[in-house]
Symmetry: C2
Subunit: 236 residues, 2 copies
DNA sequence: ATGCGTTGTATCATCGATGATGCAACGCCG
DNA sequence: CGGCGTTGCATCATCGATGATACAACGCAT
């Protein structure tokens, strides 16, 4: 149902951009190889690439991002190259971004459908089968038929006895339901909570599932942040 | 600091894959154009592409994803093409994925650094300046120096009076701090909460900031889920 | 002084992706 | 029956990305 086919999986490629030049995986590999081998020539041959091309690439990157590789011609060993602190920062940022988007592409999701009731700036409220839900959007209009996506890593599960009013938290979306399955995966579990017929998927640590006493059939409450829910057009 | 340069921004390209063939933006545009114009020929000329090429692309996509475009040769209007339900599902899934990864690429982040204390399956606990933090990882080992990333859309802010023990929620990471800035952006605000010198960024609706009475200087508590925090290598 | 391995730079070759073109087959419609 | 616009299919052309190669400049070590 609804794109949850097995065999098909979502992926994402990260890129950090500045001034129309994009730093991507390939560039990250190059910088890492330079760091490892101590020279651009060494990096290129280690990666099986053209040294001239890599040098040129480094220059276009530096035109946008500033100095990345300190190159030294002549001297002991014939010369060599080192990453600048800026390059290390860039690599680390790319790594974080990569890991983050790869994770959101891999995580289960629950999707609600309905018309958008109103739009206020970057926020849209959508009428869904479980009530009005608020989320971030990008260019939808009131009346549009849309899908609302909530990542399983964004929904937290509460003891069903917990206060559902929740005036004291910034996570306003709160619903009650009954857990329909708990799939323990060793250390991380995904649990399904049925709310009025639509089941929400939540990603929890195994720890949390036992601490909360989650079991099939038990009542549970879920909550998630408006700023963690995305509304996507249905077919633009 | 730490990659938070302005001028440079993170991006992500979504892809849904099956059997080594990847459905990307370009394919999405093609299918949408077919849906809009009613024919592959119309879609190709609308997009300024080669019709033969587009037809071939559709066939390789169908080899992996199943029937996507019902093509009819001859008949009224000379023939035409329609999307199958599977194609609509695929488009919708792609749209959700696109929106989701684009958002996580755009959202502010807070990063903690330190050595990983232990690893248990997909979970790693890292010793950071604010204490031990637990997050999802992918191939790091105990002792590695890593960065821990928490997206601003994943941290929820609580009234400072709220119970920090929190045995009743699946969000275990809880900290107290003082809010150092509230940047209202019209409908969505990002607030900074200082905890022992590291400031956490949280994305909240403006509503929530007033409901919680957030102001610079006030105490605040934050919490986030282990399954929403990613640990990334420092330099693999 | 000579050798060495690197950087700096220019040029050519290759390969894959993509668009352009041409023509046959199809089937409804007037 | 002929016209029409589409699909089906093959082939050529073009362009950009990338690797390969060549040679000069450099500066430390021997």
């Amino acid at each position: 149902m609804d794109g949850a086919d097995d065999r098909t999986d979502g992926r994402a490629r990260a890129v950090v951009a500045r001034d129309d030049v994009e730093f991507d995986v390939r560039d990250a590999r190059l910088l890492r190889a330079v760091d490892r081998t101590g020279s651009v020539a060494g990096a290129s041959s280690a990666l099986g690439r053209s040294r001239a091309r890599d040098l040129a690439r480094i220059e276009t990157l530096e035109a946008a991002f500033g100095a990345l590789v300190e190159r030294r011609r002549g001297g002991s060993g014939g010369g060599g190259s080192r990453l600048t602190p800026a390059a290390v920062d860039l690599l680390e940022r790319f790594e974080r971004l990569s890991v983050a988007v790869a994770a959101t592409a891999r995580v289960p999701e629950t999707v609600l459908r309905g018309p958008v009731a109103s739009v206020d700036g970057e926020l849209a409220v959508v009428s869904t089968p479980v009530g009005e839900v608020c989320g971030l959007h990008q260019g939808v209009d009131a009346g549009d038929e849309v899908q609302v996506r909530v990542g399983a890593d964004a929904v937290t599960v509460l003891l069903s006895g917990a206060d559902p009013a929740a005036g004291d938290s910034s996570a306003r979306n709160r619903l009650r339901g009954t857990t329909v399955d708990v799939d323990r995966g060793g250390t991380v579990a995904t649990v399904g909570v049925d709310v009025d017929g639509t089941v929400f998927r939540a990603l929890l640590t195994d720890d949390s599932t036992v601490r909360l006493g989650l079991q099939k059939g038990r009542e549970a409450a879920i909550s998630w942040k408006a700023t963690a829910t995305r509304v996507a057009g249905d077919r633009p």
